[in-house]
């Protein structure tokens, strides 16, 4: 129980772990026939590894690491398009730092920057707006990336740019939404998931009802969770209790931050600026219907795809993933990161081959970062 001592409240953690063990027994789950729980959000994946929750919980629980890391699911073709945009004359390409090392077919943004492209890491799309104001003779492109948590920020930034008539600002929109890949995973006949731990900060924006179909159509429980370790244990317990009782409901463990109906200002901005794409490509998962957003026609002046003619609809898209990359199998729970032949050899956080190794929210990077410490603890 070494890890439990690191908890803010070790006694509460132990009590929760005891209750989890009881419910796992009541369900009759074992290491051979475990209950599979997917944590959707990459922040949760990171926390599970950091606190060794996968080791502290009974062997009858298997955590499957979901597709909720936007950097990890960014397809190579999109990285290529980023590089293409960044290499346009006169362009300042702005991006979150997380995206810099994602491999493309030609190069990553980091390599493009080393080759002379003006690529700047920003904290916020507001920084990109300010760069546009200060550089009226340059075109500033912001790489809009992320789930519903960051989507409102680019929507509000585009609205602001429109209000100011800022003509040299545009967004390369790669925003994606959480529910469609969950539906795709549940439709996969090979998938054996028993329940979900739902993302906290995405849900803060969209509320809990977009998940209703998971309970109603697929009969699986989901509990929206905070990302403190105690939140996660509590949420896992709630999922297990539903499984034991034969219930399938959408519950909210993180109600102190997540309102039932989400954040109305954010939702209004998203609806004003974005519309669904017919489909969007996810690294390792392929094209998923209605899973991505694009900028509406009324804001076309701020859409980098329109402005530069780069992106969806501008050419053939199918791009293979790098040779030997098992990211797709890892993301659908068919393979553990360590089972990938490249893990730790051809693919490390310093030199990632696959995207799951790029961000600390990616399952492979989390395994890599905390795997050593865990093995040492187990040996004690």
């Amino acid at each position: 129980m070494k890890y439990a001592d690191e908890f803010r409240d070790p006694k509460a953690a132990r009590a929760l772990l005891d209750r989890i063990a009881v419910v796992v027994d009541q369900i009759g789950a074992t290491a051979e026939r475990p209950v599979s729980i997917m944590e959707i959000c990459g922040g949760h994946t990171h926390a599970i590894f950091r606190y060794g929750l996968d080791k502290l919980t009974p062997p009858g629980i298997e955590f499957i690491h979901g597709p909720g890391c936007p950097v990890c699911v960014l397809p190579m073709s999109r990285v290529d398009e980023c590089v293409e945009l960044a290499e346009q004359p006169g362009v300042i390409f702005t991006t979150f730092g997380d995206a810099m090392r994602v491999p493309g077919t030609r190069k990553s943004l980091l390599q493009a920057k080393a080759d002379g492209a003006d690529i700047r890491m920003v904290y916020s799309p507001l920084d990109a707006l300010e760069i546009a104001r200060r550089n009226p003779d340059r075109q500033v492109v912001f790489f809009g990336l992320g789930f519903e948590t960051t989507t409102p920020s680019t929507a509000l930034s585009i609205q602001q740019a429109a209000a100011e008539g800022l003509e040299n600002f545009s967004v390369f929109c790669n925003h994606i939404t959480v529910p469609p890949p969950i539906r795709a995973l549940l439709d996969d006949p090979h998938m054996t998931l028993d329940g979900f731990v739902g993302p906290g900060h995405v849900s803060m924006v969209i509320g809990v009802h977009p998940y209703d179909f998971i309970a109603e159509t697929y009969g699986k429980p989901l509990v929206v969770a905070g990302f403190e370790p105690l939140d996660l244990l509590q949420s896992v317990l709630m999922v297990l209790e539903q499984i034991r009782d034969g219930r399938a409901e959408i519950e909210n463990q993180y109600a102190r931050v997540v309102p039932e109906h989400g954040n109305p200002v954010s939702l209004a901005a998203i609806a004003d600026v974005y519309e669904e794409r017919p489909s969007f490509e996810w690294r390792g998962l392929g094209e998923i219907d209605a899973s991505g957003l694009r900028i509406r026609g009324r804001y076309a002046a701020f859409d980098a795809e329109e402005k530069f003619g780069i992106g969806y609809g501008a050419g053939p898209r199918a791009v293979a993933e790098p040779e030997g990359c098992a990211c797709g199998a890892v993301m659908t729970g068919r393979m553990k990161p360590v089972e990938c032949p490249n893990f730790g050899t051809g693919c490390t956080p310093e030199m990632p081959l696959g995207a799951l190794m790029v961000s600390s929210e990616g399952a492979c990077a989390a395994y890599y970062q905390y795997g050593g410490a865990r093995a040492a603890t187990a040996a004690e």
Partner: protein, 96 residues
């Protein structure tokens, strides 16, 4: 990028643009408060919020802010966010 960081609103800097100064782990940073604004912006001063990529997304209480910050520190995310803010400042001047 996806995990927010708690900050305390200390000043309204540009009301028409919904901008306020927030103090995040000892660092001051201008943030957009449109998503948590209900009524006059001055009412936000002293309040805590979860800040995502420069936008205050959800009001939280002080205790929740402290717990969240501790969880972020445990994950190394607090440091990462502060570094990203510094990188953003550098990018404005073209220093990044």
């Amino acid at each position: 990028m996806c995990l927010g960081i708690p900050g305390q609103i200390v000043e309204i800097t540009d009301a028409p643009r919904m901008m306020a100064m927030a103090e995040v782990s000892g660092v001051r940073r201008e943030v957009n408060v449109a998503c948590i604004a209900q009524g006059p912006l001055a009412g936000l001063i002293g309040k805590w919020a979860l800040i995502h990529v420069g936008f205050a997304m959800s009001e939280i209480d002080e205790d929740e802010a402290a717990k969240t910050l501790e969880a972020l520190r445990g994950l190394g995310e607090a440091q990462e966010t502060l570094e990203a803010m510094a990188a953003g400042d550098a990018a404005l001047e073209g220093r990044s």
